[in-house]
Symmetry: C2
Subunit: 393 residues, 2 copies
């Protein structure tokens, strides 16, 4: 498994950038470091609704000594001399401080009277209720680093600095090939077997930020698989499911070896030991077993790792990890890295449930999380702490 992930990390490099509109950037991965393009706020501005004045003019104002100001329209302040002694300008929170003003009195401490006059009942200090230019962020300051996932706050912060288009990592384009069984070989199955792998893989690829550009049923013979792989080599990665003949994945593995490079075939992994990994040119190819539980875990640990890396995301399994206590022994076969489904007992403990061998893909829906017992271990003793990948928080 370690050698397989090493091979993937060496061959799945982040894809190139593409420019998208900010509206389409949610959930994407930033391709470049971004600095703030402008000061925020871009000017000294009112931080409350009220009236802009010169603070010095309010000295001595109080409830029993209101100071009277002449109230003018903000548009008059195009003339810098307009806001002189004894003049107030109506402002809303967020609007620029008029030239000549250095403070804002909030609406609650002032009273408009007839004849465009304003009474102010509290003295102000300079910059009271004023947000200084660039206090949130200064133009040129680092804003977001390449590799950052663009969530709501990042999208909002970019919009705040005037960004409307942004460079993100291109989404990996996947081709899914479902190798059927040759009609001659096993006709009984064709009408009865339900293909869960297609919906399963589409959902997994979407979760990992990839897109399924092509999704086809193909024959199971070596020639059919080889030709389908060759035809799909424009994708960033190809996932072949099923198509196993006699022996594990022989036909698919042989087909890949004939078209490109079969780097690895068969891993000490349960479920999913018959997986194959390789490439055609720069296109990565994963040969996933057809049994849904095997398909799930060879995707999660291998193909998904490649999809996540191609898309500039973190390579690790996209489940939160917690160190929890094993309430019962978790049994695993020595010689195989084994994925063991567990159920949570209260906040701090887990117990094993029916394995993927016993319950197939349903082990995943019945589990609250998974323990990956390494190849050299026979399992986890009762009472031991163990890292659990939580599928349900």
């Amino acid at each position: 498994l370690e050698r397989a992930t090493g091979w993937i990390d060496a061959h799945a490099r982040g894809l190139a950038a593409e420019d998208v509109s900010l509206d389409d950037a949610t959930g994407r991965i930033l391709a470049v470091d971004v600095a703030a393009a402008i000061d925020v706020p871009p000017f000294d501005r009112a931080s409350t609704d009220g009236y802009a004045v010169n603070a010095a003019d309010t000295m001595g104002a109080g409830a029993y000594n209101p100071m009277i100001f002449r109230l003018i329209d903000a548009s008059s302040t195009a003339d810098p001399s307009a806001i002189g002694a004894g003049v107030a300008v109506r402002v809303a929170a967020g609007t620029p401080l008029p030239v000549g003003a250095d403070a804002v009195v909030s609406g609650e401490l002032a009273q408009e009277t007839r004849d465009d006059l304003l009474e102010i009942i509290e003295g102000l200090a300079p910059m009271d209720n004023v947000e200084r230019r660039a206090t949130h962020i200064r133009a040129g300051a680092p804003l977001l680093a390449a590799g950052r996932a663009l969530g709501p706050a990042e999208i909002g912060a970019l919009a705040s600095t005037g960004v409307t288009r942004i460079a993100v990592v291109r989404r990996p384009r996947l081709c899914l090939l479902h190798a059927g069984r040759d009609a001659g070989k096993a006709p009984l199955a064709s009408s009865l077997a339900l293909n869960a792998d297609g919906p399963l893989l589409r959902a997994l690829v979407t979760r990992d930020g990839g897109m399924v550009a092509d999704h086809r049923e193909i024959g199971s013979g070596r020639v059919a698989i080889r030709e389908a792989i060759a035809a799909a080599a424009g994708a960033d990665a190809i996932l072949v499911t099923g198509g196993t003949g006699f022996g594990s994945n022989d036909e698919a593995a042989a087909a890949l070896a004939e078209t490109g490079e079969l780097a690895m075939h068969g891993l000490a992994l349960r479920p999913g030991g018959s997986v194959g990994i390789g490439r055609v040119g720069t296109t990565l190819v994963f040969l996933l077993p057809g049994a849904p539980a095997s398909c799930l875990w060879t995707y999660e640990l291998l193909a998904g790792r490649a999809v996540r890396r191609l898309g500039g995301r973190e390579a690790r399994l996209p489940y939160p990890v917690r160190s929890l206590m094993s309430a019962r022994k978790i049994v695993s076969s020595i010689g195989f890295a084994q994925v063991c489904p567990v159920r949570r007992l209260g906040d701090d403990r887990v117990e094993p449930i029916a394995s993927f061998d016993e319950a197939g893909l349903f082990a995943a829906t019945m589990a609250d999380g998974f323990v990956i017992v390494p190849e050299g271990s026979e399992g986890v003793p009762q009472g031991a702490r163990v890292e659990v990948y939580l599928s349900v928080e």
Copy 2:
């Protein structure tokens, strides 16, 4: 804040169900309990590629004593008498066990010879390499409960039981109204202010499983806001941003009070104290402050809670929570529930960073998480354990 969330929980009930194709169901919320429609496997089937035989016929087989079988096509087994003594049928993993067979020998322990004969070199017990019908799940057994989020494993499990369409909770339809400033009131701002709230709210609503059905700029006057709210009352919820006149959110609040019910206006919350909550008929209306950081947190704590509940999701903030140690005192104003951005120091500690007052929305992009200090507290002392909502894992 508690009273506000109580009001939301009382008025934001889960929406009705709609049927969608399984391909479109990823990330949606299941509206009904689902039981398995069929047995999985639906029949006794081969668990490996190989040859189906009657186990009794292999008794005594060994490397030095191969047993010879007559190899026939699976299609011949339409006749139940076909697999009698000394007959083997080629099967692939996952295909049904032919009538009359009770075990499968794997390809490695058998050898096809000329003349359609097969040599088997190991004895089998009944059900060797056979997966019994219904061992993964039995028809009628509970599969997924209403309220379950449909991730890849759930989609795969539903597909495994033959489901192609599924009842999910309808997505909440949101209307966003950005109340501008009246040209007469504050003309200086109109050309300079960058609207971050629109992109921010679109990303938040999408994250919470809602859809923005309508998104409009409107005037800031009471009449304009009132008419826009009335026109949008077909949505499941309306988010009004900005439109504050003198006093906090007066125009929007007054407009809502005139059209429907203004249930609450002003909360002891920082940022976001000027928020308003109410409804028009059954449509929930949230009056969110225009400052982006206030818009973010009034969405997260109030409007987003409603969106999540309408869509059948968990109401709580969608951030993982960890109990971490405060490496420095986290200061908060008594009398206000305050959202304090923090940076993580190593695995177990956090320290406060520039507040939302100081850094606006950029406090959210610079933070690794948030601490919500309750109204009655002055903050968190150095060295204390505190619940941190992690925005970056």
